[in-house]
C-alpha cells in the first residue's frame, strides 16, 4: 500500500529550461487528474447521481428562475440554500479559524497534526457553501457590483459578509498554500508561502470573528419576523461563540471519518496523537458551549420570554438548548474525564445537530412562525444542497489523495520548515 503515498513531482533541475519545466508540470497535472482510488464505492454510487441530478436542477433554475425548483415565496425569500448551505455551512467551517488561532498565534503545538486538514476543510467549505450563495442570487452576474465600481452598499451587513467571504477564502488559501507548493514541488514558493502563514492566520481570524457574527447580524433587521425566543440583539455574539464549538465539533466528527477513510496516508505519530487531540478539542468545545449557554441564559432572562416556554415553539427551543447544547456539553466533559474518544464523537455529533437546529431555527423554522402557510424546502432544494455537499467531499478527497494534507509532507519541505505545516522556531545559528 505504499503506493498510496503521493509521488511528489520530482521537479526537474532548476537549471532545466523553462519550457521543459512547464511541460513536466503539465504532464504531472494530467497524471494527477486520474482517479487514485477504486471507482465503485458506496459514496460514489450515491453522490454521482445526486450531483448529476443537481446539475440538471440548476440548469432549470438558471433558465426558468428560482421559483421553478424552490419553494421560496414573497413571504419567505431565504430558504434552505441560505439557512443551511451558507449560514450553517460557514458555522461548521469555524474550526479553521479556531485551530489556526491556537496553533499559529497561541502556539498550541499539540494541534499541529490536524491544522492542515482543518484549514483545507474550511477553505472548501467557504468555496462550496458560501459559493452556494451564487446559486441563490437572482441576478448572479451582478455579483461583481459590490466588489468593483460605484456600488458600495457600506451600510449593509451583507456587503461586509460578502467581502469577508472573499477575503477569508484568500486567507485560507494562503494558509493552505504550502501544501500545494509541496505537491507541485515548488520549493521557493513554499518558502515564501510558509512565511506568509502567520499574517494570513491573523487576518483570517479577524475576518472570521466579523463574518461569523455578521451572518447573525443579517437577521437583525428581520425583527418581528423571527420568533422572540430566537430573535435577539445579541444574535451576532451568539453566532460567533457557537461557531467555535460548531467548528471544533466538526473537526472531531470529520476526523473520525477521515481517520478511517485515509488511514493509510496518516503517519504513525498522527495516529498516536489522535486521541489526545480529540479529547483536548472536546474540552475546549465544552468550554465554548458553557459560554454560549450562559449568554443564551442571559439573553433569555433579559428578553423576559418565560411565558413562551409553555408554547410548542418553547418546547422546541428547550429541546435545542437543553438537548443539543447542554447535553453534548456535559458529554464532552465526561468524555474528557473518561478519556473516551467514542463518547467525544457522540457528543460532537449532537453538538453539530444543535448548531444545525439553531441556524435553521433562526433562518427557516422560527422565521415567520406565525404564517398560516409555512415554507418547507422542495425536494429539488434538498437535492441541490446534497449535490453541493457531495461536490465538496469530492474536492476534499481529490486533494487529500494528492497533497500532503493528512500524510506527512515531503522530506525537503520538512527540512525547509521543520515539520512542514508547522511554524518552527530555530535559533539564528542554524540559519546562518
Amino acid at each position: 500500500m505504499s503506493t498510496l503515498r503521493p509521488k511528489h513531482s520530482p521537479a526537474p533541475d532548476a537549471a532545466a529550461p523553462t519550457s521543459d519545466r512547464v511541460r513536466h508540470l503539465w504532464r504531472f497535472l494530467l497524471g494527477e487528474l486520474k482517479p487514485k482510488g477504486p471507482l465503485l464505492t458506496w459514496f460514489n454510487a450515491i453522490s454521482i447521481p445526486i450531483m448529476l441530478l443537481g446539475a440538471v436542477l440548476l440548469w432549470i433554475r438558471f433558465t426558468q428562475g428560482l421559483g421553478a425548483i424552490t419553494n421560496l415565496s414573497q413571504q419567505v425569500p431565504w430558504g434552505l440554500w441560505i439557512g443551511f448551505d451558507v449560514v450553517t455551512g460557514v458555522a461548521f467551517a469555524g474550526g479553521a479559524y479556531v485551530l489556526t488561532l491556537m496553533v499559529y498565534v497561541l502556539r498550541v503545538e499539540k494541534f499541529h497534526p490536524i491544522v492542515r486538514v482543518t484549514v483545507l476543510n474550511g477553505l472548501l467549505a467557504y468555496i462550496f457553501y458560501a459559493g452556494a450563495l451564487l446559486l441563490d442570487l437572482g441576478r448572479p452576474w451582478a455579483v461583481i457590483n459590490p466588489i468593483i465600481g460605484n456600488s458600495f452598499g457600506v451600510s449593509s451587513v451583507l456587503f461586509l459578509v460578502a467581502w469577508h467571504f472573499m477575503l477569508y477564502m484568500l486567507a485560507a488559501l494562503l494558509e493552505f498554500s504550502p501544501a500545494i507548493a509541496e505537491w507541485l514541488g515548488w520549493r521557493r514558493a513554499h518558502r515564501i508561502l510558509n512565511g506568509l502563514t502567520l499574517g494570513a492566520v491573523i487576518f483570517g481570524v479577524t475576518l472570521s470573528v466579523l463574518h461569523q457574527s455578521g451572518l447573525g447580524a443579517l437577521y437583525l433587521m428581520a425583527k418581528g419576523k423571527i420568533h422572540p425566543l430566537w430573535y435577539s440583539e445579541f444574535i451576532p455574539v451568539l453566532f460567533l461563540v457557537s461557531s467555535v464549538f460548531a467548528g471544533l465539533s466538526l473537526v472531531v466528527f470529520e476526523g473520525a471519518i477521515s481517520r478511517r477513510v485515509f488511514r493509510l496516508r496518516m503517519s504513525p505519530e498522527h495516529h498516536s496523537q489522535h486521541d489526545d487531540i480529540v479529547l483536548s478539542l472536546a474540552r475546549i468545545s465544552a468550554g465554548a458551549m458553557f459560554v454560549y449557554l450562559f449568554l443564551k441564559l442571559l439573553d433569555f432572562v433579559h428578553g423576559q420570554h418565560a411565558a413562551l416556554l409553555a408554547t410548542p415553539m418553547g418546547a422546541w427551543y428547550l429541546l435545542e438548548i437543553l438537548g443539543f447544547v447542554l447535553l453534548p456539553c456535559m458529554l464532552f466533559l465526561r468524555a474528557a474525564q473518561r478519556r473516551s474518544t467514542r463518547l467525544a464523537l457522540v457528543a460532537s455529533g449532537m453538538a453539530l445537530v444543535g448548531v444545525l437546529l439553531n441556524r435553521l431555527n433562526v433562518t427557516v423554522i422560527a422565521f415567520k412562525w406565525y404564517e398560516p402557510v409555512r415554507y418547507v424546502p422542495s425536494w429539488q432544494e434538498v437535492v441541490v444542497t446534497l449535490a453541493v455537499i457531495s461536490a465538496e467531499i469530492w474536492a476534499f478527497r481529490w486533494i487529500v489523495n494528492r497533497m500532503p494534507v493528512v500524510s506527512p509532507p515531503p522530506e525537503w519541505a520538512a527540512e525547509d520548515s521543520g515539520a512542514a505545516p508547522a511554524l518552527k522556531y530555530r535559533p539564528l545559528e542554524t540559519e546562518a
Binding site: 456600488s151 451587513v157 451583507l158 535559533p427
Partner: protein, 349 residues
C-alpha cells in the same frame, strides 16, 4: 381631487408639526391649539363632533392661508430629506373600488387587474410582482373597511440599508426606488422589509424586485402618483409629508369620533412616506402595530460600528500575544527567513 384637499396638503406648517404626535388626544390638543384657523379642540370635543360643513369651511380657510403662504403647488416643490413627498390614505373614505389598482397597473405597465371580480376580497392580499398595490377588505368592529397596501416608502428604509449594491435607494424627494443595473437579486431587502411589501420575480431567469415606485418618474415631471390622481373617493392625497400630517391631524380633530387618534406611518419604524387614517385600531386592518419607532437601519448600526474597531484591535492583539509568547531561546520565526539568500536553499537541494 377637490381644491380643498389639494390646498390643505400644502397647508401652513405649524412649528410643532414634525415632533407633535396625534396619538393621544392630549397631544393633539396641544398641537392643534395654537392654530388660528381651526376650531379649538376643546370645542370640538364638547360638541362631540363638528359637522362636515364647518369642517370644509375650516379647510377653506386653511387653503386660503396656504395660497398666501406658499403660493406653489405641492408637486412643483421638490421633496426634501426633511420633508419628503408623501401620501395620505384615509381608509374611512375608501370605498374599495380598486381604481388605484387599475391606474397603478396602467402607469407601470403591469397586467390590468380583473376589476369585475370581487372574489379578490376573500383573502388578504399583498403586493406582488404583477401588482404594486392591492386593496384589501377587513371586517371590523365598525363594519367593512378597505385598505390599500403598497411599499410604505420609509424615511429610513430597511431595504436600502440592507442593499449591498445600493440598488435599493431612498431618493431625497421621498420615493424608495429600485435600480435594475445594480441589483444582484440577493433578496436581503425582502428579508429586512418590516412590512413585507417587496416582490421578487421568482419565475424569471432575469428577475427583478418589484415594488411601488410612488411614481417617481411622474413626480419628476411635476405630476402625482397615478393612484392619488385617479382615486374617485379622494381617499388618497399626495403632498409634502409635513403638510399631510397636518391634514391628517386636522381630520382627526374635526371628527374625533370617526378616527382612531393615530396616524399610522407617522412614527412607525422612524416614519414612513405613506400615512394612514382609520376609524378602527390599525391591528384590525392588517397593520403590524408591534414594529416600534426605531428606524430599522439602527438595528444593525451597532454591529457595523464594531467592524472597524475589531479590525483595528484584533490583529494587533493577536500579533502582540504571538510575539509576547515567543520562546526566549528560539528568537527567529520563519517569516523572516525569505530574507535569506535563496541560493542557500538551492545549494542545499
Amino acid at each position: 381631487m377637490s381644491s380643498e384637499h389639494e390646498a390643505s396638503a400644502n397647508g401652513p406648517r405649524g412649528p410643532l408639526a414634525e415632533d407633535a404626535t396625534a396619538r393621544a388626544p392630549a397631544a393633539a390638543e396641544r398641537d392643534g391649539g395654537p392654530r388660528p384657523t381651526e376650531p379649538g379642540p376643546p370645542d370640538a370635543r364638547s360638541a362631540g363632533a363638528i359637522d362636515r360643513r364647518s369642517f370644509l369651511m375650516t379647510l377653506g380657510a386653511a387653503a386660503a392661508a396656504a395660497t398666501i403662504g406658499t403660493g406653489r403647488a405641492a408637486a412643483e416643490t421638490p421633496g426634501s430629506e426633511e420633508d419628503p413627498y408623501a401620501m395620505l390614505v384615509d381608509t374611512t373614505r375608501c370605498v374599495g373600488c380598486r381604481t388605484c389598482e387599475a391606474s397603478c397597473a396602467e402607469a407601470n405597465g403591469l397586467p390590468p387587474p380583473d376589476m369585475m371580480d370581487d372574489a379578490v376580497f376573500q383573502k388578504v392580499r399583498n403586493p406582488s410582482e404583477t401588482q404594486f398595490t392591492v386593496v384589501n377588505r377587513f371586517q371590523t368592529s365598525k363594519g367593512e373597511v378597505f385598505v390599500k397596501r403598497q411599499c410604505m416608502h420609509c424615511r429610513k428604509p430597511a431595504c436600502a440599508a440592507a442593499c449591498l449594491t445600493r440598488a435599493m435607494l431612498k431618493t431625497t424627494s421621498g420615493p424608495v426606488v429600485w435600480r435594475e443595473n445594480k441589483c444582484m437579486g440577493c433578496r436581503f431587502c425582502m428579508v429586512s422589509c418590516p412590512f413585507d411589501r417587496l416582490a421578487f420575480e421568482y419565475h424569471s431567469a432575469v428577475p427583478r424586485i418589484r415594488k411601488c415606485t410612488m411614481c417617481a418618474a411622474r413626480l419628476k415631471d411635476g405630476g402625482k402618483p397615478a393612484c392619488a390622481e385617479n382615486c374617485p373617493a379622494e381617499a388618497i392625497v399626495f403632498g409634502r409629508r409635513s403638510a399631510l400630517l397636518e391634514e391628517a391631524r386636522r381630520r382627526i380633530l374635526a371628527e374625533p369620533d370617526n378616527y382612531v387618534h393615530q396616524i399610522y406611518g407617522e412614527q412607525e419604524v422612524g416614519g414612513t412616506s405613506w400615512l394612514y387614517l382609520a376609524s378602527v385600531p390599525f391591528d384590525q386592518l392588517g397593520f403590524r402595530t408591534d414594529l416600534g419607532e426605531t428606524p430599522y437601519p439602527k438595528l444593525t448600526e451597532g454591529f457595523l460600528y464594531a467592524v472597524p474597531v475589531i479590525f483595528a484591535t484584533v490583529p494587533a492583539l493577536l500579533l502582540a500575544i504571538n510575539r509576547a509568547t515567543r520562546p526566549a531561546a528560539e528568537p527567529v520565526v520563519p517569516e523572516t527567513r525569505h530574507e535569506h539568500p535563496e541560493t542557500e536553499a538551492l545549494a542545499r537541494a
